[in-house]
Each structure stands twice: as structure tokens, then as C-alpha cells.
Subunit: 203 residues, 2 copies
Amino acid sequence: MGRTSDAKERLMAAAIELIWQESYGAVTINDICKRADVRKGSFYYFFPGKAELAVAAIEEMWKTEWKPFFDEHLSVDKEPGQRFHEYFEALVASQTRLALEHGKVLGCPVCSVGSEVSTSQVDVCGAVRAVLAKKRRYYESAIRDAVAAGIMEPCDTGERATALFGLVDGLVAQARIMNDIGILKRLPQLGMELLQIKSPVAL
Amino acid sequence: MGRTSDAKERLMAAAIELIWQESYGAVTINDICKRADVRKGSFYYFFPGKAELAVAAIEEMWKTEWKPFFDEHLSVDKEPGQRFHEYFEALVASQTRLALEHGKVLGCPVCSVGSEVSTSQVDVCGAVRAVLAKKRRYYESAIRDAVAAGIMEPCDTGERATALFGLVDGLVAQARIMNDIGILKRLPQLGMELLQIKSPVAL
DNA sequence: GCTTGCGCTAACTAAATGGTCAACTATCAC
DNA sequence: GTGATAGTTGACCATTTAGTTAGCGCAAGC
């Protein structure tokens, strides 16, 4: 019954693309519609407004892109020592590839948008916080595993996860701001250092 | 000759306030004029547009607020070991005070704006990068002093400064996004740990 | 093959935005 | 005082923005 379409998906993809390349505030509904090749009437047929689209897009990206990235590169399947190191390198590689594609360092859209809208835009911020909390839980779980494996000193795993989060996303944000991918070069070493993992791959 | 006024200063102060509380993109020229109690005609008498006002405001804030903060809390006058620790604590205290005043964690406006406008708004980004570069130079100089004093292992001081920068501003950004000042609680310890300063105040 | 209803569209409105301008005013130097 | 000049103002314009609506078209189910 009724016709079918992928306009909703196109809108979400266009929104993430544009917001990542520019910022949440700089992107208008008209911009998103143009990029997605969707008329404004259709936009409002699917979403009440930009905020709701952003929330849907962020949740979609988590499911289809970011969660798989963690599951692959921070996989429980890998040796606890290698795990973080490989994740760091995958992160740097991913940012490098994006930078080559777009001609500028893009950083992490969740963090950029989060910092931009945290003091207003309650609903968008909710979606951002949910994703960041999940990301942090991946870190904490991996840290617990490393401690259990005896390659990390026992510690407050929650606090360690917060610290790692700060360092990683701090460096990524810095790379975006300075448009300098070189800032991420030493992320793997610095990350391992912060975790103080006793392993041959650490240094 | 001619009448005098502090409208220009009021505009810059209003711009920083609003951008800090919201974001660069969310604040309009009308908003800034209202807050500064200045008519739009006067705005354009002093500035060609929002970007130029932002640049002027950032440069002004560096001179009157941020540089003095570094000169006081990261002072060469202090013992190299204490120096960073006191700076970290002053930073946390400053964010805590702001959070109490405004009812929400505000973070660092330079980093927030930088991440927001880095891929567009070339001129604003230039001002942001200049401030961040100065901030980084304060870090690097203090690290060099610590190495010279023998309380830090010899290292690539530039890289260490970048890492510290990442951690500090990463945690500050996280605190803003999550609106949780608690994230900054352990910043002093984590910072000292990253620097690996051998000193009684370190732990 | 026709009905049902999901999806689509162009044209529209109202409000807000950035930006301009000619006329006005306060102040200082003389 | 008075003239030169820095600063001020409100009214105005063009454009862009978010958001609406009446009606059209396409595809599945019967």
C-alpha cells in the first residue's frame, strides 16, 4: 500500500555529511534537502524539524558505522594488549582517509556537535550523550579485560575510561581545529602510555 | 574630537558571553546587539560582520583574561613541580565557578568555537589557532623548565605539550558536553601522570 | 482496474536575518 | 561658540529561513 522511498535515509545521510563537514548551526534544512535531492515538503513529512533529523541521523550512524567500528577494532576477540593499540591505529587511519577525501581533517562529529549544542538543543544533546556513553562503556570494558588479563595495574576503570576518552577525543578535536592530521600521529603511543599497559606492543 | 563610547567593548564582551553560552552559529548579530544595548547601525560602524567581531573579541579575551591566567597560574616564578599542579587546579576551579554562575558547564570557548568553525569561517579559525598556539607554547615552555630542573625525563617537549593539550581540553570539552563538572575532578592527577613529573606533589 | 494511502511537490506565508543609509548628536580642540 | 568628527539611530531593503498546504502520482492489495 502506497509508494516506497529511501528519502528518509537520504536525508539522514545528507545531514550527517553536511554537519560533519561544517557544523550543526551552519547547516540549514534547505541545504540538507538540496544535498539529499528531496523537496522541503517531504522533509517535513518525515521529520518535525532539524533537531529530530539530527537525532535520528546520529542514532543511525551509531548502529551502521560507529558500533561496527568498535566491534571490529576493539574486539573482545583480540588479545587485550593488542586491542587498544589496533583501535588507536584504526582511528588514526580512519581520520587520515577522511582527511584525504575531503581535503581537511573532519574529527568526530559527535564531539563537535556535542560541544556546539550542549548548552541549548536538549534533544540533540541527548542523542550525543547516549552515543558518548556507549563509546565510553566500550573503553571501560576493554580496560577491565586488560586488568583481568594482568597487563594493566588494577585501577578505577571508570575514571581510566574517562581519561582515555579525554585524551583521544581531545587530540582528534585538536587535529580538526588545527587541520593537522600530524597531531594524531602519536596517538597510539600516548594512548598506551596513559593506560600503562605492560606489553611488548606498548612501546 | 568627536564623541566617545565603549560600545565597541560592550559588543565584544557580549559576543564572547553569548558564544560561550551557546555557540558561534547560534548567536546572531541581533542577539549580540541586544545584549550589548547597541543598535545595529552602530554594530556595522565598528565591525564589518560577525566574523570580524568574533576575531576581535577572541584577541581581546586573550589579552585581558587568558594570558593573565597563564601568567599567574603557570608562572615561571613557581617551582617547576608545583607549577602544573597549581595550573590544573586553577583551571578546574575556574570551570567550577563558571558552572555555578551559569547553571551549566561552559568549557573552553576557543576550543568549542574552533571545532565548530574550523572547516569554514577561515578568519575566525585563524584567531582561534593563534590563541591555541600561544597556549601550547606556555605548556611547552613549562615542560622544558621541568626537564631542565631534572624532575621530568628528557622528551620531545613539543609532542608532550600536544599530548597535554589534548588531555586537558579533551576533558574540558567532555565536561561541557556531558554538563558534568565531575569529569574534571581528577584532571590534576591525570595531568601530572601524563607529564610523569617526579615530585611529591605529583601523587 | 480500481481503491487506498503513502509519498511527493510547487507554491505559498511569516518571520528573522544580514546589511544599508541619510540624518542626527554629543564631544573635543581651538 | 563653533566646527570638525566620532559615534548613534531608526527606518528601510533584500534575502534567507522555517514551516504549511492543497493537491498530485505511484505502487501494492483486493
